[in-house]
């Protein structure tokens, strides 16, 4: 099926107009439609079609690589071709589909050589085996087995190219209705030639009006539908696929029954510059208020501050967190940004304690809050160096931050009430004080003489303990029997207490006699005495707060698994611990009371095929590095693609000619036909050297007759004619020569050659 005249040219013009490459489109259209004026056609072979198709396929591959590496291929090519229209720039701004869109936009250019080959060839179709590798393989197989196979089926690529051109023309932002009207015109043009002759003009034109009018008004409705579909942003689903911590709150798994189990998926890769200095934890966030099994950022929620690059132009990617601190160690970190906001990946950076500076972090935007969270907007994967050291951190001192925010005030006030919400949010006590205490905590904690235990503070978020949790905490304090209140005494005692009397367990069993005062934390402290890290961290934080020590609840990852020269961090390494304020040093210290066995317990849950998953993770990581521009690969890629394509083009254009030249050379091996090994040809060469060359296509008999006109050759007439007779039999007789005759041909030829060599050379005679 052949497109009607000038349809492809019009489609190319339309594509050029829509994509901002009008000159290119016009040039392509003129060359293509010029075939109607220039009637010269070439007889291209299947091999020629194969080569050009291969070239187009490699061009497509190269375009994919290029667009993929640059991420803004469309704008780049437009820039190269002199088009700086805002439409083109906008088209290149959608990073997610940028590669595909760019390549689709270039499709008319990429496959143009193939269309041109068909247009200027003597045949109207291209062999199907050219396009399909499978068909090509079968065709070759068939050719091997059948000496003269029937011709392969052909395909006119005009209409597929037409569709590709229209598709390419559609990838630009909608500024007006020009695409709509242009598309309708080309569609009607194409359908006109294939209309049914059964119906008259009136019916056809009537339908045409219905289509044009209906689609114009219909597409306005479609744009509304489209807006609805666009709202179903695929990135929205990404929230369910990763851990994606929130800087404002951390909902713990406290109170959940069953096994809390994270996967063994690798999420962070780190390499310490100094192997002797490896941080124990990578913190993502810390929280200040505990409400209903959820830790909240409290007043830190709203105090995110914008960070600025030191020298965005000269040395991009360097960010200072603590200007006055001199870091002593460096850790290279590669992590994914899992969230999605404002059309950009976003996430909390996992950082070692005391991080003062971030280097080579190519983020679009960076923010930090007073709870030590650093939030980055950037590509999906960031690879950077965190420079850190002991001492000061970016966290604000305890008690800082404004609590005048109504939400924070509401939360603080809520902590002073007795009611306890169930996990589903219902309030079983209706906000009233419980009639009785939990049986295990009947004895309230009474501070020993000399202790300075302040009443629960409702103004300091780092000392605030919910009233509902206090009975259980007091019971533990009674059991602890701490000799004094100094940090140096308290921390070892608390650590030993949890280490000896509690155990790590990811499985939580339901407890009988659950009442509204039996919160999950109380169950953990008084009944089960087993839980996962969130229990330990929460209990420790609140317990220390009851002693007047400011604490915060930190989440992040534990760094312990070595891999090559660095460390890998899995989802199962996600961890929670406590930050304790050291009043003397004026710093926050990491304090982890979770029994050390937790790492082993988590790793026991791994599949034996974890290595396979790790391998896939590594490949995905390397791929992601290239995709997100975190590799230097893209800088070199273009220099690899350009010479490869140039070499390929050279091969395609010149190889054929070279082969022909080679064929015409004297070194060409003799063709494989019967009698090719005849010794008579040696005689022919010898006589030619004597000045009697054989003309092209001159029969041997006529040539020999001409040669024998030389008088000195008359003596050889009889043997030469006999040799020619044998040669003809050797050459054309289906039965061929017998062994004796073949030997005679060789022998007599040698004899004649000897006699000829003894004669003086003569000039040629005709």
């Amino acid at each position: 099926m052949r497109p009607p005249p000038f349809l492809l040219g019009a489609a190319l013009l339309f594509w050029g107009w829509q994509s901002g490459l009008f000159l290119v489109g016009a040039l392509l259209a003129v060359i293509l439609e010029g075939a109607r004026v220039f009637k010269v056609r070439w007889d291209f072979s299947d091999e020629d079609f194969n080569r050009i198709w291969t070239f187009c396929a490699l061009l497509l591959f190269g375009a994919l690589l290029y667009a993929f590496s640059t991420h803004d291929g469309s704008s780049s090519i437009s820039f190269l071709l002199g088009d700086k229209s805002p439409g083109t720039a906008q088209a290149a701004s959608t990073a997610g589909a940028r590669t595909i869109i760019s390549v689709i936009c270039w499709l008319p250019m990429i496959f143009y050589p193939f269309l041109l080959l068909q247009t200027y060839s003597t045949r109207e179709t291209v062999p199907l085996s050219t396009i399909s590798l499978i068909l090509q393989k079968r065709w070759k197989k068939r050719k091997r087995h059948e000496p003269d196979p029937t011709a392969d089926r052909g395909l006119n690529v005009g209409y597929p190219y037409f569709c590709a051109t229209l598709l390419a023309a559609s990838f630009h932002p909608a500024n007006d209705h020009s695409f709509f009207w242009g598309f309708c015109t080309l569609l009607i043009w194409a359908l006109w030639t294939h209309r049914s002759r059964r119906f008259g003009w009136a019916v056809w034109l009537g339908l045409l009006l219905v289509v044009a009018g209906g689609s114009y008004f219909g597409q306005r409705s479609v744009s509304r539908l489209q807006q609805y579909v666009a709202n179903l942003n695929p990135h929205w689903f990404a929230r369910f696929t990763r851990r994606n911590e929130d800087a404002n709150q951390s909902r713990t798994a406290l109170g959940m029954l069953g096994r809390v189990k994270n996967s063994g998926k690798i999420v962070i890769r780190t390499t310490p510059h100094d192997p002797t200095h490896v941080p124990q934890y990578l913190r993502e966030a810390s929280y200040r208020l505990y409400r209903r099994q959820t830790w909240l950022a409290g007043s830190s929620r709203d105090d995110f501050q914008q960070l600025y690059e030191e020298a965005p132009v000269e040395h991009p990617g360097n960010w200072t967190l603590l200007p006055e601190k001199t870091p002593s160690a460096t850790l290279e970190i590669a992590c994914y940004l899992d969230g999605y906001e404002q059309d950009s990946p976003v996430g909390l950076l996992p950082l070692p304690a005391g991080t003062a500076r971030l280097e080579n972090l190519h983020a679009y935007n960076l923010m930090r809050n007073s709870a030590g969270s650093v939030r980055a907007f950037g590509p999906g994967l960031v690879v950077f160096e965190a420079r850190y050291g002991p001492g000061k951190t970016i966290d604000s001192p305890p008690g800082t931050g404004t609590v005048e925010n109504p939400e924070t005030q509401r939360l603080l006030a809520e902590g002073g009430r007795w009611h306890h919400f169930n996990n589903d949010g219902s309030d079983p006590a209706g906000g009233r004080r419980p009639r009785r205490w939990n049986s295990e905590s009947n004895t309230p904690f009474t501070p020993p003489p000399g202790w300075d235990v302040p009443p629960t503070v409702r103004t300091n978020e780092d000392l605030e303990v919910p009233l509902i949790e206090q009975p259980a905490l007091d019971a533990i304090l009674v059991e602890l029997q701490l000799p004094d209140q100094r940090l140096a005494t308290v921390l070892p005692a608390v650590s030993q207490f949890f280490d000896t009397k509690f155990k790590y367990q990811t499985w939580q069993t339901p407890v009988r006699g659950m009442s509204f005062t039996n919160t999950p934390l109380a169950q953990f402290l008084l009944t089960t005495r087993a839980g996962h890290c969130e229990y330990f961290a929460t209990a420790t934080a609140l317990l220390l707060r009851r002693l007047g020590i400011p604490t915060r609840y930190a989440i992040g990852y534990a760094l312990h698994e070595k891999s090559g020269s660095g460390y890998v961090v899995r989802m199962s390494d996600a961890h929670a611990w406590t930050l304790v304020w050291d009043e003397r040093e004026k710093v926050w210290r990491d304090f982890d009371t979770t029994p050390a066995a937790w790492i082993e317990v988590e790793h026991q849950a791994f599949s034996p095929l974890q290595w396979w998953s790790d391998l896939g993770s590594r490949i995905a990581f390397e791929f992601s590095k290239i995709r997100n521009g975190q590799s230097k690969f893209q800088q070199y890629l273009i220099w690899l693609v350009v010479p490869a394509l140039a070499l390929l083009l050279y091969q395609i254009i010149f190889q054929r000619g070279r082969r022909r030249a080679t064929h015409s050379a004297a070194t060409m091996p003799p063709p494989d036909w019967p009698g090719a090994d005849s010794d008579f040809y040696r005689l022919e060469q010898q006589l030619a050297a004597r000045g009697v060359p054989r003309e092209e296509a001159e029969p041997l008999r006529f040539w020999l007759r001409r040669a024998l006109r030389q008088p000195e050759l008359l003596a050889l007439q009889a043997p030469l004619e006999e040799l020619l007779r044998l040669h003809y039999r050797h050459r054309f007789d289906p039965l061929g020569l017998g062994p004796d005759e073949r030997a005679a041909l060789r022998r007599e030829t040698e004899h004649c050659l000897e006699r000829l060599s003894g004669m003086a050379p003569q000039p040629a005679s005709r």
Binding site: R138, H145, A174, L187, R195, S196, W204, V222
Partner: protein, 451 residues
């Protein structure tokens, strides 16, 4: 569980084939392209920020929608008489051209119609489909597209539709259809369908009429060079009863006295009148070559190229052997053991080929039945041509038994292209030239090497 899963797949398979069949019949080539473009435009519509593809969706959708309106048979009452002249036989791989006459019985000129032949639904029942799928899972490696069959093994033939030229009232048109048989067996034609396209030429209204007919597709055959088939002439007990005429040979040898039991029609009445005692004519005993063509049908696979090649090789030998002055017994096992004799006027090659066109693989894993059948025939035959599907121990023992009966045997073992190791002669070590391996796809080439 697996059965349930396959049943769900089968439902999906039937639904998919039904939809594609419907699309191919209802939509013209242009229509299929427009439909595809509509789907692409629909997907492109999801991103209106960066693409204007959504502007293409509505025109395409309305073109398709308006074409669908013309899909009803409203205003389309074709009254035609169609006659199909179909030959009786066809051969796999050989396109067959046949004619169809169509006469316009309406009062108006008919333009732009399409005639579509309706072949019987080739989709198999669930059990057959399941067996095929399970077998395919076992033997076909995934992601080797060039090695896989690219067409359904259940499809009997391909047949393109034909445009009907403009036809005046009472005018008759002759149309040519080209049938490409893909597999042996019976192809059933159920009727024909006339299609009328919409004004855009993308969707058709259809009118069906029944016109049942059938054609038998014979197995593919190869050219076999003239070979000296094994064996010598053998006395055939009861001899001429199997020859071209009913009774004994026409070759008169002598006269002898009547013995009890001689048929009355053999009495030579003139001599009886001369010598006054009953004299009967004595005829020459019949000696002729009789070959057994043994086709191994025992394979666990419901469909395999190896089996189809075996049938083709057997068909090729049946044609070649029957051109010579000989009898040929075709022996194989299906639901039971079968033996057919052809040659010297008993039956023709066509009949043998018709039998081979219907041979199905025998999936019971025992060779005993075929062995008993062949050994029972062994005393009557001069030689055996065995077409085997494998060269395993059981088959080697079978050949060994034939060899111990001093029967000359030609053995052809059909193999896939991946089996390249030379065959171990085993019982054929005394005559290794009579053991040949034939590779699927190269059978013609290898048969040409026979001398």
């Amino acid at each position: 569980m697996m059965n349930l899963f396959l049943r769900v797949l089968y439902v999906g398979y039937r639904a998919y084939t039904r939809i594609t069949y419907w699309i191919k019949r209802r939509f013209t080539i242009v229509g299929q392209a427009v439909l595809g473009a509509t789907v692409v435009a629909l997907f492109a519509s999801t991103d209106s920020d960066n693409a204007v593809g959504y502007q293409a969706f509505m025109p395409l959708a309305i073109v398709v929608g308006s074409a669908l309106l013309f899909g009803s048979r409203w205003g389309f009452r074709p009254h035609f008489v169609v006659e199909r002249r179909l030959p009786k036989l066809a051969t796999v791989g050989h396109p067959l051209t046949y004619q169809v006459w169509i006469k316009n019985l309406t009062a108006r000129r008919q333009v732009g119609l399409t005639l579509i032949e309706d072949l019987a639904d080739p989709r198999p029942p669930f059990t057959e489909w399941r067996d095929y799928k399970l077998d395919e899972d076992k033997h076909v490696r995934p992601f080797r597209f060039d090695r896989q069959r690219y067409r359904s093994p259940f499809k009997y033939a391909t047949l393109r539709e034909c445009e009907v030229p403009p036809t005046d009232p009472q005018q008759e048109q002759e149309l040519s259809f080209v049938l490409h048989p893909l597999r042996r067996g019976l192809i059933r034609f159920e009727g024909f369908t006339l299609g009328r396209p919409d004004p855009f030429g993308i969707f058709r209204a259809l009118q069906r009429q029944a016109l049942p007919q059938s054609i038998l597709v014979l197995p593919r055959r190869y050219e076999i060079p003239p070979v000296a088939l094994p064996g010598t002439r053998q006395y055939q007990q009861g001899g001429v009863t199997l020859a071209s005429h009913i009774g004994q040979s026409e070759e008169f040898v002598a006269l002898r006295d009547y013995q009890q039991g001689d048929p009355l029609r053999h009495i030579h009445w003139r001599t009886w009148a001369k010598v006054d005692r009953p004299i009967v004519k004595e005829f020459e005993d019949e000696f002729f070559v009789r070959h057994a063509l043994i086709l191994d049908t025992l394979t666990p696979r419901p469909y395999s190229d190896v089996f189809e090649e075996a049938v083709s090789v057997a068909a090729s030998f049946a044609c070649t052997a029957l051109t010579q002055e000989s009898l040929l017994d075709l022996l194989f096992v299906g639901a039971e053991a079968y033996s057919f004799t052809a040659g010297r006027g008993l039956a023709h090659a066509d009949q043998m080929l018709e039998i081979l066109a219907a041979v199905q693989p025998c999936r019971t894993p025992t060779f005993t039945q075929l062995e008993q059948l062949v050994l029972g025939h062994a005393p009557m035959v001069s030689g055996c041509i065995c077409v085997l599907l494998a060269w395993d121990e059981v088959r080697q023992q079978f050949i060994e038994k034939l060899r111990t009966l001093d029967l000359p045997v030609w053995v052809f073992v059909i193999r896939t292209a991946t089996e390249t190791a030379p065959l171990e002669p085993g019982p054929m070590r005394a005559a290794p030239e009579c053991l040949r391996a034939l590779t699927v796809g190269r059978v013609q080439e290898q048969l040409a090497e026979l001398t």
